[in-house]
């Protein structure tokens, strides 16, 4: 009887210990921090988590939880948990456009000065702006991103055209590989393109966090480019389903002489399409008007700290580690994602391995930042639902339609 009782007690204790371990809490003084992030295909985000775990001297362990592949699904997964005040989100990868929304909803913690000052030090201005809302730092820029115009030197004579108009004309006249790979599906990528076009033409989508911009002339010019492209032979027949990765694939398969895309295509072509890689050239993102600014898109991830975390201090510390010089180099060289730390661009060795680094840094000086608004997701939805597919754009009425839908979106109204 006694021994039975003893083993029963033993079993209960053991079960309790197992349960505590499952709870992701403290095992032997070591805290488990949950890092929810885009599962960057080269694995560099996961590798950074492991590296920081090692460097923490056993104080914390970072558990990597992969999010979906496109920004919309990543946001949905996070938002669903955050709205329910889930304490298991310690650190998360946030697309640069979420800062205002997440901050306003109090889903992320503002960075305390001691950590914020460390993040600001040596970080490029453009990426830093994307992590700031109402003068407070809400996230740490982990990587930046911008699109370049990639082209095939074996098909294009000399420098590629500088404006969208000429680029579309040039590609349309080509006999071989006459496509330009652009993102045109009903998703964030279409808003990215539209934002760059309207800013390049001198306009803005929003005039402040809750006011519609969309001035007549620049908006008209932007939608004209999109409509022209959508109806031209330079468009991929599947344009209305094209996202970044589909564009990359079509380019690697040799269908296109041009593609507008992020630099992740560089390491990918190197491994997957050596023939194309041999002749791969790059140039500045096209502009709407000759000599005008190109306002290339700025993207990237910022690390945010969840507002409901039980270990805020450690989370800030770990998030800082996850964007260290060493980790940012790995994001860039393995994953193709441009760094946010200025010093890395000045390193000659980096320039050698990342030959378009200088161009990227120049584009990041004057990028096409998407509007900061707590209702950005709705605004973006209104834009891409109105503009994609490009070939259906009615250039006479679309500007008014855009204004109406964006203004509804800013009031949380209208079906989108």
């Amino acid at each position: 009887m006694r021994s039975r009782l003893g083993s029963a007690v033993g079993a209960v204790v053991a079960t309790a210990a197992v349960l505590a371990g499952c709870g992701g809490g403290d095992d032997g003084g070591r805290v488990t921090l949950n890092f929810w992030a885009y599962n960057e295909p080269s694995g560099s985000f996961r590798a950074a988590a492991d590296r920081c775990t090692e460097q923490s001297d056993g104080r914390y362990r970072i558990a990597f939880n992969p999010l979906g592949n496109d920004p919309d699904t990543q946001r949905q997964s996070l938002v669903r948990r955050l709205a329910a005040k889930d304490s298991s989100i310690d650190i998360m990868s946030m697309d640069v456009i979420w800062t205002a929304e997440f901050a306003e909803a109090e889903w992320i913690k503002p960075w305390p000065e001691q950590f914020a000052s460390k993040v600001r030090e040596g970080t490029l201005e453009g990426p830093l702006q994307t992590a700031t809302y109402e003068d407070e730092l809400y996230a740490a820029p982990a990587n930046s991103n911008t699109q370049l115009l990639w082209y095939r030197k074996d098909l294009v004579d000399g420098e590629p055209p500088r404006t969208w108009d000429k680029l579309i004309d040039t590609a349309s006249e080509m006999e071989e590989g006459g496509q330009i790979e652009i993102q045109g599906a009903q998703y964030e990528g279409t808003t990215v393109l539209f934002n760059s076009l309207i800013q390049s033409a001198g306009g803005e989508i929003l005039d402040g966090p809750d006011k519609v911009g969309l001035e007549q002339e620049p908006t008209q010019k932007a939608v004209d480019v999109m409509a022209k492209f959508g109806r031209s032979p330079a468009a991929n027949p599947s344009l209305e389903n094209q996202k970044e990765d589909q564009g990359r694939l079509a380019f690697e398969q040799g269908q296109a002489a041009f593609q507008v895309n992020y630099p992740f295509i560089y390491p990918s072509a190197k491994d997957g399409a050596p023939e194309i890689f041999k002749n791969l050239g790059w140039a500045e993102y096209p502009s709407v008007e000759e000599g005008g600014p190109s306002k290339a898109p700025i993207g990237g991830f910022n690390w945010g700290v969840g507002n409901y975390t039980e270990h805020p201090e450690l989370a800030f510390e770990a998030a800082t580690c996850l964007r260290s010089d060493e980790n940012q180099r790995s994001f860039a060289l393995d994953g193709g994602l441009p760094p946010t730390l200025e010093a890395i661009y000045d390193d000659p060795k980096f320039e050698e391995q990342y030959p378009f680094g200088d161009l990227i840094r120049r584009q990041l000086d004057d990028p096409g930042v998407r509007p900061a608004s707590p209702l950005y997701a709705d605004v973006s939805l209104a834009i891409y639902k109105t503009l994609s597919p490009f070939s259906d754009i009615d250039t006479d009425t679309v500007v008014d339609a855009l204004r109406e839908r964006v203004s509804n979106a800013l009031k949380s109204q209208g079906l989108l």
Partner: protein, 281 residues
């Protein structure tokens, strides 16, 4: 009194969520601004019902529903007859016919999408009349979505019909045969009328299911990015999970619920007026 626990459970899992959705649909409620909820009456319904997007999506949904259920009925009936008549390997026939129904919808939808998608290397793209990227073509997208639905749920239809077939007695068939009725006449004048209740139940189940279609249209529409195949459920999902707009999203959900009720009502009235004996001669 003894059924009280059951009633409490039913209220907790059905009545409360439905009631809460109806309540939310009367609010301007956005999860991003949890403190700004306000009562707006029927505004959300006006917004939804006056939006062309809603009616487009209703149209898409009805097209998928009608075509896929019609095909399923015909194919399901054939399958049921085969299963009913099979003399050898009856168990094998039934099991293999049921396999598609056992596959998770999301997996089935991905299998179909990957088989058809031009950009994702589908082997069917570009064969014969099929365009290079069928999933960008409206007609072919519907073919693929409806194909997925039919492939997956025909076994379910067949199973319900099989139960109905078992009710038809062999003596009636033999009598008809003696009177000189051919196979088609026997099927149409004896089997179908006697099976009518089973057919209607099968149709009701499938129609309700088909109206709420989400998974396959979402995945074959490239994660909900293809507006040509957006269904009402995807629309509701977008309002609720993309925009976190609980008010509008709940209004969409309640409207879907009402339409499902309407469909059920039509069917049940149909069922009520047709007792098996009354129709057969």
């Amino acid at each position: 009194m003894l059924c009280a626990p059951a009633i409490i459970v039913m209220i907790a899992v059905t009545a409360y969520p439905i009631g809460y959705s109806v309540y939310l649909s009367l609010l301007r409620a956005d999860l991003r601004f949890p403190n700004d909820n306000e009562f707006v009456g029927l505004d959300n319904y006006v917004t939804v019902l006056s939006s062309s997007l809603w009616w487009n999506d209703v149209f898409h949904t009805v097209v998928i529903m009608v075509v896929s259920v019609a095909l399923e009925l015909v194919l399901g009936m054939l399958l049921a007859l085969v299963m009913h008549r099979a003399l050898f390997g009856r168990g094998l026939v039934r099991t293999s016919a049921l396999i598609p129904y056992g596959i998770v919808t999301v997996v089935a939808a991905f299998a179909w999408r990957l088989a058809w998608s031009g950009t994702e290397g589908g082997f069917l793209a570009g064969i014969g009349p099929i365009p290079d990227d069928p999933l960008t073509d409206t007609f072919w997208t519907y073919v693929v979505v409806i194909g997925t639905e039919v492939w997956k749920t025909t076994p379910f239809m067949a199973l319900l019909l099989l139960a109905g077939l078992a009710l038809v007695s062999d003596e009636l068939h033999e009598a008809a045969r003696v009177d000189g009725a051919n196979a088609w006449q026997r099927f149409w004048s004896i089997t179908v009328p006697l099976m009518r209740p089973a057919i209607l139940v099968a149709l009701l189940f499938r129609t309700l299911d088909a109206f709420r279609i989400f998974d396959s249209a979402y995945i074959i529409g490239l994660n909900g990015t293809n507006p040509k195949i957006e269904t009402v459920s995807i629309l509701g999902y977008n309002q609720l999970l993309n925009r976190l707009n609980l008010g509008l999203g709940s209004a969409v959900s309640v409207l879907i619920f009402l339409m499902v009720m309407l469909i059920a009502l039509v069917f049940i009235k149909g069922l009520g007026t047709s007792s098996p004996g009354a129709q057969s001669r």
